[in-house]
Amino acid sequence: MGNILTLVLKRLALGVFVLWIVSLIIFLGVSMLPGDVATEILGRSALPETVAAFRRELGLDLPLHVRYLDWLSGLLSGDLGNSLANGRAISELMGERLGNTVFLAAVAACVAVPVSLMLGLLTALYRGSLFDRLTNLVTLTWMSFPEFFVAYILIMFLSVQLGWFPSLSTMRPGNGFGEALHLAALPALTLTLVVAAHMMRMTRAAIISVLASPYIEMARLKGATRYSLIVRHALPNALAPIINVVAVDLAYLIVGVVVVEVVFVYPGLGQLMVDSVQRRDVPVVQACSLIFAATYVMLNLIADILSILTNPRLLYPR
């Protein structure tokens, strides 16, 4: 277990370093965009004096490195800062949005992960059958469409024609769970369709590559049933790659939702980030990207720990 602890500590330290690099890149990237929050808010016709005064008020006249260090010291003392656009505290601004995004991701994950793992197992089990080929064809097709296209197709059929779900997912704080679920259904379904294909195909590939091992042949010669062959003999040895794919896809559900949120006008972090980039609201963009980056780092760390825990060779060295 000692090696897991060292791994966790090492990776956390590395994660902090990654977050710092990300914040630097985002900061420089946004400041390289033409215009800043003052010109965006005041508009093109504003007088140069007004713009200059507004800049001074927001501290935008200070040199780049001073502003970055300011922000960094605030972050280290636990203060994400205030939005430049409306002056509200970023933590408050993001709290609700983050909740929405996590809710959406969770709904999508609860459907996508079990379904795609099951399909992966079944297609591996009945490799080459009609079921296998059909599943592959359908999932591959969904995977190949851009997600906004999938989203509009779903809106057209399930919302416009059948009227089962709303096409706009305007979540409000007062919504009950059932209502929230109903509102989030279409974006969640879109995300599910996009990530499930990936997870299912990787599960199938991992199981199939393990099925070629001598110990699987041995299990067959021991008289193991088909079910035991897959679940008891193949699956435990295919877990590591599967876990890693699931982690990447879960991260995608949090980070990659931008387009889907925009299509459904879903009030999540992705939507907030897009708006903030447009307004050149650097602190908000910074905070969003840090959360996205942290999600990646944490999910990958969890995946690595699980891979070790499921592999006796790593867990019990000779």
Partner: protein, 546 residues
């Protein structure tokens, strides 16, 4: 409760009867017959040895005894009667109910055939409970009893370990125990000792012999080593290209073989070299130590190789033989001592050595399959060192490549082929040619014949000896096979746990008195004599009892 009663008619003593068995394998051209009509009868308690080189179809026949054909193979004809039922027509589900219970299988590599995700004893219990032979607790007791019977260390607890935590020989015995779980009528042993050291092989052979005799189990024992099969089998079938060459009682086949091919098999390993003249030392290793991280694997090893001679390093796996090769080639810097080549001290790492020195020392690996780039044609593989070391291009290079191919007894036609189109022996010849292309003074041969069949291996050894006579190249020959050492070495260095325990001219090493470890190593090599295993076990037990 696990003791199965004999379900077949007690008068009918035949366990398995195969008639006209035909099996086809798929290749690019379509289906090709690889087993061409084999008849085989096995009585209760009888051990039948199937022997032949790879490609003889012996494993395929062994698996057919479980009604199984590997992917890409199919049983295309004949009948395999087991307990009155034809295995070739039974459904997958009916076969499943026979496998593990009444017919069991012991694979060549236990390390690859045990599931790495489960504890050893759980894999034993699985067989017993899967078929409803007994409950898990009883199966555990049974497993421990069998582990004890097979003389595994710590029988009470060894099953709780994972496969990677146990040595190869122990794992192989655990697999024999697993095969015995339901007291099957028939066990197929598919080269169970081929991957083991001679010293470990004895233990596994003895364990197999005991359980098969005590439980009166019929067995098919597949191997390419006649001396091994001589210890166990009552009867031998010699196979070649999927056809029967000769069949008979073990002693008769060994003493009076009828077929020319059997005589050839018996004689393999008989290639012997006659002494050569000792020149100046080309390689001198003085007090070399080396370590992987914190674990020291070489302790003050000293030896020298004279020009145009062969020094064989023998020892079981883990003795540091290959590590020494890595030190000489510069792949692993030594932590102490010196390596001198042609009077000049070698720098510890490859990076610091001049390209001339690198050219003069070449390495040939154990497995030609993995040491040749599958995406390069023969002309690229051979052309590269010619250009790199000698700056050859165009027609001169082509001419030299053809010359090299002639030296290894392959022709110009091979230039355009990929390694995948060559046989194992041809690949190893190509590796030797690649080393020769550099025009080296010293070739380090790391177990170059251990992945090959006896006859192919003998061909490689003959080639190496001929090349040495023609080119005066020196060999540092690493092997665990004593027969190979006898065949080609001038000097022998015996290594054990990273130390040299004995060294000297071959004539002295192989003549008593030996160092205790050399004695053990020499005595562990199976002899053709069918009584050898019993004799050696008695002599080894005797001092322990007194």
């Amino acid at each position: 409760m696990m003791n199965r009663e004999n379900m077949s008619d007690p008068r009918d003593d035949v366990v398995l009867e195969m008639r006209g068995l035909r099996i086809e394998g798929q290749n690019d051209a379509g289906w090709v017959e690889i087993v061409k009509g084999i008849d085989l009868t096995l009585k209760r308690g009888e051990v039948l040895g199937l022997i032949g080189e790879s490609g003889a179809g012996k494993s395929t026949i062994g698996l057919a005894a479980l009604g199984y054909a590997r992917p890409g193979c199919r049983i295309s004809g004949g009948v395999s009667l087991f307990d009155g039922a034809d295995l070739n027509v039974l459904s997958e589900d009916e076969l499943r109910r026979l496998r593990g219970v009444r017919i069991a299988y012991v694979a060549q590599s236990a390390a690859a055939s045990f599931n790495p995700a489960h504890r050893i004893i759980d894999q034993f219990v699985e067989v017993a409970t899967l078929h409803g032979a007994c409950d898990a607790a009883t199966a555990r007791q049974e497993a421990v009893a069998l582990y004890r019977k097979l003389r595994l260390p710590d029988p009470e607890t060894i099953g709780d370990r994972f496969p990677h935590q146990v040595s190869g020989g122990q794992l192989q015995r655990a697999m024999v125990a697993m095969a015995m779980a339901c007291r099957p009528d028939l066990i197929v042993f598919d080269e169970p000792t081929t991957a083991l050291d001679v010293t470990t092989q004895i233990e596994v052979l003895a364990a197999i012999k005991d359980v098969v005799r005590d439980f009166n189990t019929a067995a098919i024992y597949i191997t390419h080593d006649l001396a091994v099969v001589a210890q166990l089998a009552d009867r031998i079938m010699v196979l070649r290209y999927g056809e029967l060459v000769e069949e008979g009682e073990t002693r008769r086949v060994l003493e009076r073989p009828n077929a020319a091919y059997t005589r050839e098999l018996l004689a393999s390993g008989a290639a012997r070299r006659v002494g050569s003249h000792v020149g100046r030392a080309i390689l001198e290793i003085g007090d070399v130590s080396a370590a992987y991280g914190a674990s020291k694997v070489l302790h003050d090893v000293s030896l020298s190789v004279a020009e145009g001679t062969t020094v064989a390093i023998v020892g079981e796996s883990g003795s540091g033989k290959s590590t020494l090769a890595r030190v000489v080639t510069g792949l692993l810097p030594c932590t102490g001592g010196t390596v001198r080549f042609d009077g000049e001290e070698l720098k510890p790492t490859l990076r610091e050595r001049s390209s001339v020195l690198r050219r003069r020392i070449q390495l040939v690996h154990q497995t030609p399959d993995t040491s040749l780039n599958p995406r390069q044609r023969v002309d690229e593989i051979l052309g590269r060192p010619l250009t790199f070391f000698h700056g050859m291009t165009g027609a001169a290079r082509k001419e030299r490549m053809v010359e090299l191919l002639d030296q290894i007894e392959l022709g110009e036609a091979f230039l355009q082929r990929y390694p995948g189109e060559l046989s194992g022996g041809q690949k190893q010849r190509l590796c030797i040619a690649r080393a020769l292309a550099a025009e080296p003074d010293l070739i380090i041969c790391d177990e170059v014949t251990s992945a090959l069949d006896q006859l192919v291996a003998r061909g490689i050894l003959k080639l190496l000896m001929r090349l040495q006579e023609e080119l005066r190249v020196s060999y540092l020959f690493i092997t665990h096979d004593i027969a190979t050492v006898r065949a080609i070495a001038d000097e022998v260095v015996v290594m054990h746990q990273g130390r040299v325990v004995e060294q000297g001219p071959k004539e002295e090493i192989f003549v008593p008195p030996h160092h205790a470890y050399t004695e053990l190593l020499l005595a562990s090599v199976p002899q053709m004599d069918p009584d050898w295993l019993d004799t050696i076990r008695q002599t080894r037990m005797a001092p322990a009892q007194s």
